[in-house]
């Protein structure tokens, strides 16, 4: 479970990547990333999430997202990534899925 806030772009994405890699190195392969406090995400941020999804999947794990903000959801929608990530309306929904 990882809570992310603020803006995820080329300046901040490396920190997110490090944290996700640390979780995988810790053998945590069922990851929920809570994006509810995120104001902005661009393709660099999406790339980090794609990379993390790939890492957990090689361990038969999964990476689910929590997001209800229309502006953030739109970025996943227009890039086609809504069909790649499981996106849930709440952390509870993500954990019980």
């Amino acid at each position: 479970m990882l809570e992310v806030g603020g803006e995820i772009d080329v300046a901040t994405a490396p920190r997110l990547r490090e944290q996700l890699i640390a979780l995988v190195n810790d053998q945590r392969y069922q990851i929920v990333v809570d994006l509810e406090a995120v104001d902005f995400i661009d393709s660099t941020g999406l790339g980090v999430l794609i990379g993390a999804l790939k890492r957990v999947r090689t361990h038969d794990g999964d990476l689910a997202l929590v997001c209800t903000e229309p502006r953030i959801l739109k970025v996943f929608e227009i890039t086609g990534l809504l069909s790649v990530f499981a996106v849930h309306p709440s952390v509870d929904a993500a954990v019980s899925a």
Binding site: V10, S43, T44, G47, I50, K54, G80, L81, S83
Partner: protein, 163 residues
């Protein structure tokens, strides 16, 4: 920041050091310019901020990857607020690329797509802008994007392809 009025509209030109942390500055400036135009609603403003984020990210990475002619040079963001639309140009001094020769990645729904973390930026720019041109020379790249407001009820549903 240099500001000037011209027959084409108000122009704001910004030279930014080629560092990752300036991308958020570019978004702020463009967001403020768009907010001053009542034709652009909040959703369209978000489109413009996302597109400029992608263009500046590409410009900075191109320049950082190019130690020879790029080192020390700023990237330049030029915003022209014209009647009914907004023009944005982002220039770098990197070594350039051919947008027509980008290796297509697998579709996002293809499991093999997970092998590629990048490659979504230019498709996003194409989707979000109403017109885009890439001007590539040996001494750098300029991306010119035009944005028009979305009229009420116009629901543009597009899906990016990475090809």
């Amino acid at each position: 920041m240099a500001g000037e009025a011209s027959a084409r509209g108000d122009i704001v030109e910004l030279a930014l050091p080629a560092r990752p942390d300036v991308v958020s500055v570019a978004r702020l400036v463009v967001g403020a310019l768009v907010a001053a135009d009542p034709l652009f609603d909040e959703e369209r403003s978000a489109d413009v901020r996302l597109a400029v984020s992608e263009a500046c990210t590409n410009a900075i990475q191109a320049q950082m990857a190019c130690a020879t002619n790029g080192s020390g040079e700023p990237i330049v963001l030029r915003c022209t607020v014209a009647e009914g639309h907004l023009e944005l140009a982002v220039s770098d001094h990197g070594s350039g690329f051919d947008p027509g020769k980008l290796t297509p990645h697998p579709e996002v729904t293809d499991p093999a797509r997970l092998d590629f973390e990048g490659g979504l930026g230019i498709p996003l720019i194409r989707l979000l802008s109403d017109h885009v041109e890439f001007h590539v020379t040996a001494t750098g790249t300029t991306v010119e994007m035009t944005f028009e407001p979305r009229t009420e009820g116009e629901d543009v549903v597009l899906v990016a392809t990475t090809g």
